[in-house]
Amino acid sequence: MTSEDRAPVDFGFGEEEEMLRDLARKFLDERIPVETLRQLVAPSPVPVYEQGEPPAWDRSVWEDLVELGWAGLAVEEKEGGAGVSMVGIAALVEEVGRHALPSPLLACLACSLVLRSADSEVARRRLGQIAQGTPAALAITPGDGSWEPERSDIQARRVAGELTLDGTAHFVQDALKADFFVVTARLNDKLLLCTLPADAPGLSVEQNHIHDLTRDQATLRFRQVRVSPSSVVTDDGAEVLRRAWPSLLVLASADLCGSSEWQLQATVEYAKNRKQFDRPLGFFQAVKHPLVNAMVEIDRARSLLYHAASCIDAASVEAEKASRMAKSAASDAGAFISDRSVQLHGGIGFTWESDVHIFFKRSLHGQVLWGDGIHHRKKLAEILIDRDG
């Protein structure tokens, strides 16, 4: 159903990408092993869940990531970034997901990918800042439950040459970690894309209470927020986001594939060591076969993930289809292994003390982020059935 003519057989996953990924794994294994993660984000349910504190993250890890150049992975070298291929980014983000890393990294990558597709002077300046470690977040989601970026609940008005924003951006990921936002707003019949500092007058960042302990999320309210001309990226934001959309889906899919693989391996380990009826749990097909089914689903998602990333790298027209397939598969695989990871861990998997729930919640959040499986299959059907491929 797809043509691979333009994308390389090996997805373009070469030595450079492999080295980057292996380094990432090593770094994250050292800096945020799961015990450290648990102590960081889940010492007790009270601070986040009852007192509403923002989920914790380790700024020193972030500073070291910036040092390693990760903030600028999706920024071209001439703007001060590393200019890594989408396949390389996917591989690195899989590691981020596998460690459920709390950080502004995914938000920075998302902003970079959007700004990169805009190709304007303002965009390039912002890309340089991100590459240097200034955290940014995407504020492009309306409140109607739509993840597709065509709409905005923010109204831009130009009065006497002055541009102001009023309205709300919903479900802004890792907003509390950001120094600036990349924002869409309706301007006449166009979609304005601009950037705004987190402390812009008239902008309030309202933290959402969320289940996921490894991200934050916020609602951004704009009341007569002034946008300087030097902050306007483009007034064709719809087209810019349409171009960047497959790469955002790749980010979300890669994070899900990584966390799913962690859940699979953690449950496999448990099934190897835990005994029941005098046999290791994994002896029982009611344990073994669901784990095999989870592996199969994760592998499907991973294969589609690298296909999508390589289509983006090859600027193939297949990229939209491939990325929607990847996100659908990654969301469904995440849902399945999340379910089995708790169930097959038995009593212990159901407790706060276990690591399992941290990944369960990150996955649950990721399954819906930028659209769930049903959503992307619906959009895919419009291409493959109504538009005939």
Binding site: P45, V46, V48, Y49, E50, G52, T141, D144, G145, S146, W147, E148, R151, H170, F171, N208, H209, I210, H211, D212, Q217, T219, R274, K275, Q276, F277, F284, A286, V287, A335, D339, V342, Q343, G346, G347, G349, F350, T351, W352, E353, S354, V356, H357, F360, L364, H365, V368, D372, I374, H375, K378
Partner: protein, 401 residues
């Protein structure tokens, strides 16, 4: 051969129950109530719910089908009617879930006359809260692998051991306890006790925290705790058989055995309402055919469970007497999980929100309920074990162990 409608007594009772519930709906709770009895954390919640159960019992809506001598109403098939009306009225749930759905029916079947008079009334009224001691940290899914020991000493038993998953343990006056009275027989070495908990020497209750961040279940330690032999239920060595009675009555069968009615009695309706209120990409989720199909699957599964509970009481339509009863735990827990999961999917982006977020649909019920649902698919014999039991005891397949 025409269908016979409900009896006049039943119709009158339904009318009475409906009116009583309209006139006696309780005041708003002093603090936010949890989704189910499994997450009751505070004394304020407990007092409010205990008071409500007491009123319902006094009004004759709980325990209707128990003999009057044990605090019941002495009727037949009134409880399903009361439960339906409790469900429709959307009043709070009954706090004493273990007492109503497990302890009381088990004592009614296996207890001595004294035990029935002593224990059933408090279970029905909610005056005495019960917890369950079937699960142990080392036992995994193998419920027969109980390590808690009860050693006879004169007219007493000296109990040592460690129970987990003890819902409501922190408020419980009594526990239905399985303990080992012989190391020589796996199944026949088990005995069933009605164990004193609150304030009893040698018994320690420690709250555990669930993945949702909520408490409500506990671990319970017995250290040389003394239980009088008069608190033993049925014979020494019959614990496994008695426990099977308990599990048979749990949940589904609870419909006829005490009532756990309350706000969550029709989850499918709740899902439809959620879909009506939810926008997905600017469209009402209830108008999306894929969501509608998923909703109807849930409706059918829930109705199927209700009708199976009804069919279980018609011997001519049951090939094997345990075929339907042994499905109840499996199906009610998996239905609950599937309902909650669908609620998460329908809520979409908003499913990320915790109950304290003002925009969380229905105070974050769906994702919390989804996570909490694993308690039911894991506890009291994981559903994998439930499937073994069904395959072995009903279908007669070889044991998988």
């Amino acid at each position: 051969m025409a269908a016979s409608p409900s009896s006049p007594e039943q119709n009158d009772f339904r009318e009475y129950a409906r009116r009583w519930l309209q006139e006696n709906a309780p005041p708003p709770p002093p603090e936010r109530l949890p989704m189910s009895p499994l997450e009751i954390m505070t004394v304020g919640q407990r007092n409010y719910l205990q008071d409500w159960q007491g009123q319902c019992h006094a009004a004759g809506l709980i325990g209707c089908d128990y003999p009057q001598s044990y605090g019941g109403g002495g009727h037949t098939n009134f409880q399903p009617i009361a439960n339906q009306e409790l469900g429709h009225a959307r009043v709070p749930f009954m706090i004493n879930i273990v007492g109503l759905s497990m302890a009381a029916p088990t004592i009614l079947k296996h207890g001595s006359e004294e035990q029935k008079r002593r224990f059933i009334p408090g279970a029905l009224s909610g005056g005495e809260i019960w917890c369950q001691g079937f699960s142990e940290p080392g036992a995994g899914s193998d419920m027969a692998n109980q390590q808690t020991m009860a050693v006879a000493e004169g007219d007493n038993w000296i109990v040592n051991g460690h129970k987990v998953w003890t819902t409501l343990g922190h408020f419980a006056r009594w526990m239905i306890l399985i303990a080992r009275t012989s190391r020589h027989h796996k199944y026949d070495g088990l005995t069933y006790f009605l164990a004193p908990i609150a304030g009893h020497p040698g018994v320690t209750v420690r709250p555990l925290v669930k993945m949702t961040g909520e408490s409500g279940f506990n671990e319970v330690l017995f250290e040389d705790a003394v239980i009088p032999d008069s608190h033993r239920l049925d014979d020494i060595g019959k614990g496994w058989a008695v426990a099977m009675t308990t599990l048979t009555y749990e949940r589904g069968a609870a419909e006829s055995a005490g009532g756990t009615g309350g706000q969550s009695s029709d989850p499918a309706q709740g899902l439809i309402e959620l879909a009506r209120e939810t926008q997905r990409n600017g469209l009402c989720a209830a108008a999306d055919p894929v969501t509608r199909d998923a909703l109807m699957q849930r409706v059918i599964a829930m109705e199927g469970l209700r009708q199976s509970a009804r069919r279980a009481r018609v011997p001519g339509l049951c090939d094997h007497p345990m075929r339907l009863p042994l499905q109840q735990k499996l199906l009610s827990s998996e239905n609950h999980q599937a309902n909650a999961r669908l609620g998460v999917e329908i809520a979409g982006a908003a499913s990320t929100l915790y109950k304290l977020d003002p925009n969380a649909p229905r105070q974050g019920y769906w994702p919390l309920s989804y996570m909490a649902s694993y308690g039911n698919t894991i506890a009291a014999g994981t559903n994998e074990i439930q499937r073994n039991i069904l395959g072995e005891r009903v279908l007669g397949l070889a044991k998988s162990k």
